[in-house]
Symmetry: C2
Subunit: 143 residues, 2 copies
């Protein structure tokens, strides 16, 4: 039984980020990949949408320049033949501030012949912003 | 072919929110359901974790008191036998301010014998907070 594309991709992504070895990742990305990590791009320029392998490899390099992954846990996983979705909890360090960040996100990946063709990620971005700032943002209670 | 539990649940949830008719929803929730919508509970007390049918029905009533759903689009869907995950884009109105809110979220649902046993939702919360406030929060650029 062949390993699911999501596991190969995940391993290559973490190697690209933590070890700055993007070759495995490059070999697993379709030429015309669509990529979107939704979030405030003014604060985090490595969030947002990208199109094509070169742009995705470039944004993964930017991510590697900014964070280090310590641990991740898949809280929920769903696998299809050529797709995978997971809800994940990451323990990261922001490299500029050396601040620990605990992040929850959901990712939806699609593959074709083992290559990533689409990646969409929703992040609990308010939590990310507060942890990155290192202080709470005062919010009114609305309900 | 029976309709997937996710579609029944989704219809009942929207009926509970928009029409304040929670009976269909109540009939589709397991006694010991686990429920979590991650986000800033100080601002939105109807986010956060709940356990059990009564608590989930109560929080859905609180959601109904605060928002109205205009449209939703499933951008990605994955279905398993007793599970479903989707990335969704909602068009809402915040009822207190009459403000339109466009929201992206990812939901992971698990069912047992047609009843919801687990729901976990990741929301692009920073976007939600800014739209609810009706103004941008100034952020430093970190990268």
């Amino acid at each position: 039984m062949t390993e699911h594309s999501l596991w190969c991709f995940s391993r290559a992504l973490h190697r690209a980020i933590n070890e700055r070895q993007p070759d495995d990742l490059a070999a697993l990305i379709d030429d015309n990949v669509e990529w979107a990590v939704y979030g405030p791009i003014d604060m985090f320029p490595f969030l947002g949408a990208r199109r094509g392998r070169a742009a995705v490899l470039d944004v993964c390099k930017q991510i590697a320049d900014n964070i280090r992954v310590h641990r991740f846990e898949r809280e929920t996983v769903m696998l299809g033949v050529d797709s995978g979705a997971s809800m994940m909890r990451y323990s990261l360090t922001a490299l500029d501030s050396n601040r620990p960040i605990s992040l929850r996100l959901a990712q939806f990946a699609q593959f074709k012949a083992g290559l990533l063709t689409s990646m969409r990620v929703v992040v609990d971005t308010f939590d990310l912003v507060e942890q990155t700032l290192g202080r709470p943002i005062h919010l009114p209670k609305i309900a």
